[in-house]
Symmetry: C2
Subunit: 209 residues, 2 copies
DNA sequence: GCGCAAATTTTCGTGTAAGCAATTTTGCGC
DNA sequence: GCGCAAAATTGCTTACACGAAAATTTGCGC
C-alpha cells in the first residue's frame, strides 16, 4: 500500500499545492498579516482543519510556495553528478543550481519574505528539509558505509546554506566590531559559506574504501 | 544601561530559573501532558503571559531545566583551552565535557524526555542555541578574521551534536537496509559525529595568517 | 529621598495549532 | 459493480502563542 503514484498520493500533492499557492497569492494580494488561515482553506476548497493537516503554521504554507520540492531536487542533483566529480564539487554545484532563483515570479514573493520577519524565519527554517534527502545522496556517493558521516556532512551543508540565506535575507546589522559586512549576491554567499566544509567533504570521500 | 550584574538582570534570571524549575518539577510529578502553562506560571508566581515572555513553548521550559546555560558554557570552555591545543581538539573536548551529563538528578528527567516525542524534539532543538556563542569563541581562536567561516563551523558543530543527540534519544528504528545500528554511549556518539568535521576545523585553523 | 525614563510585568483580546471522534473518500480484491 | 479496510477530511473543543496597551517596577541622576 501507499504507492507513490496512486490517485491518493496525487490528490494529496494537489491539495498541498493548492494550499501553498492560495497562501502565497493571498499573502501577495493583502499582505501576510491580513491573511487568515480560514481564507487560505477557503481559497483551496478545504476545511481549515485540513489546512492544518498539511502545514503547521501559516508562514510555512506561504514560504512553501517558493521552497516546494527543493529538498528532493537538491538531493537528486547531487546524485546526478558524474562519478568522477568530487563530492565537494557535486554538492556545491547542486546547491548553487537549486538556490539560484529563476527570479521572475519568485522575485516579489522573496521581496515580501524579506520584509516580514516571521516569513524570513520560516524561509530560513525550510532549509533543514534538505538534510535527510541530501544525507541519502551523500551516502550513495560515499558507498553507503558509515551513514553517520553522511548524515553529519548533510547537516553541515544544510547549516552552511542556512547561514548564507540568513545573511542574504536579513538586513545587515551593525556588528559590535563596528564594521558591517555587505551582503553579497546569493551565489557568492553560498560559495563562501560552503567553502569551509570542502576539506571535510574531501576527507570523507578519500577515506572511502 | 543594561548592566549584566544589576538587580534587574538578576531578577530576570531568577524568574527564568523559577519557571524552568517549576516546569520540570510539575512535569515529573504529573507527566508532561498534565501540566498546563497556567500551572507553571502559578507555581513560579508570575502571570501566564510573563511565562510566555521567557519561553515560547511548554516543552522549551521543561527542557531548559536540563540544558540551561549550556550554550555559554560550551563557548567558554572552547575559549578556555590553551592556545597550543588545536581548534578541533578544543571543540571536541569542550563539547564532550559539557554534554556528558552528571546523571544524578538529570537521570529521570532525561528518561521522561526520551519517552515523550514533543520533549525529545525540544531537547534536540535546544542544541542550536550553542551556535552563536560558539561562533564567537571560534572566531576568537581563528583571529577574528573571516567571521563567515567561524559561523559556518559553529553551525556545523551544532548540527553534528544534534545528529548525535538524535541518535541517542530516539528509540532505534529499523532501517530499510534491515540492520539497526545500536545507539552507543553519548560520548561515543559525539566523537563519531564530530570526527568528520575535524578536517574542516584543521583547515580553517591552518589557513589562519 | 525625588522623580523621570526605561524596562518589565500584567491584562485583554485575537488567531491558531492540535487531539479526538465521526464521517467521507479511496484503493483494491473479489 | 460490491464491499471492506485503510486513509483522509471534517467539526468540535481545548490550550496556547503573541500583539498591543496599561500598569508596575527598576535604575539613576539630582
Amino acid at each position: 500500500m501507499a504507492r507513490s503514484d496512486g490517485l491518493r498520493e496525487r490528490k494529496k500533492q494537489a491539495t498541498r499545492q493548492a494550499l501553498r499557492e492560495a497562501a502565497l497569492r493571498l499573502a501577495l494580494e493583502r499582505g501576510p498579516e491580513n491573511v487568515r488561515v480560514d481564507d487560505i482553506a477557503d481559497a483551496a476548497g478545504v476545511s481549515p482543519r485540513t489546512y492544518n493537516n498539511y502545514f503547521s503554521s501559516r508562514e510555512q504554507a506561504i514560504v512553501a510556495a517558493i521552497t516546494a520540492e527543493r529538498e528532493s531536487r537538491v538531493a537528486a542533483a547531487v546524485a546526478a553528478r558524474p562519478a568522477d566529480v568530487s563530492l565537494a564539487d557535486a554538492v556545491l554545484d547542486a546547491v548553487l543550481e537549486e538556490y539560484t532563483e529563476p527570479g521572475d515570479d519568485a522575485r516579489d514573493a522573496l521581496l515580501m519574505i524579506t520584509r516580514h520577519p516571521p516569513l524570513r524565519d520560516a524561509f530560513v527554517d525550510a532549509t533543514s528539509a534538505i538534510e535527510r534527502p541530501l544525507a541519502d545522496a551523500i551516502a550513495g556517493r560515499l558507498g553507503d558505509t558509515d551513514h553517520t558521516t553522511a548524515h553529519v556532512l548533510a547537516a553541515s551543508v544544510a547549516a552552511a546554506v542556512r547561514v548564507a540565506l540568513e545573511r542574504w535575507v536579513r538586513p545587515e546589522r551593525p556588528s559590535p566590531s563596528g564594521l558591517v559586512v555587505p551582503s553579497g549576491s546569493l551565489p557568492e554567499l553560498l560559495r563562501s559559506a560552503l567553502a569551509p566544509l570542502r576539506p571535510a567533504l574531501d576527507a570523507a570521500e578519500n577515506r572511502r574504501p
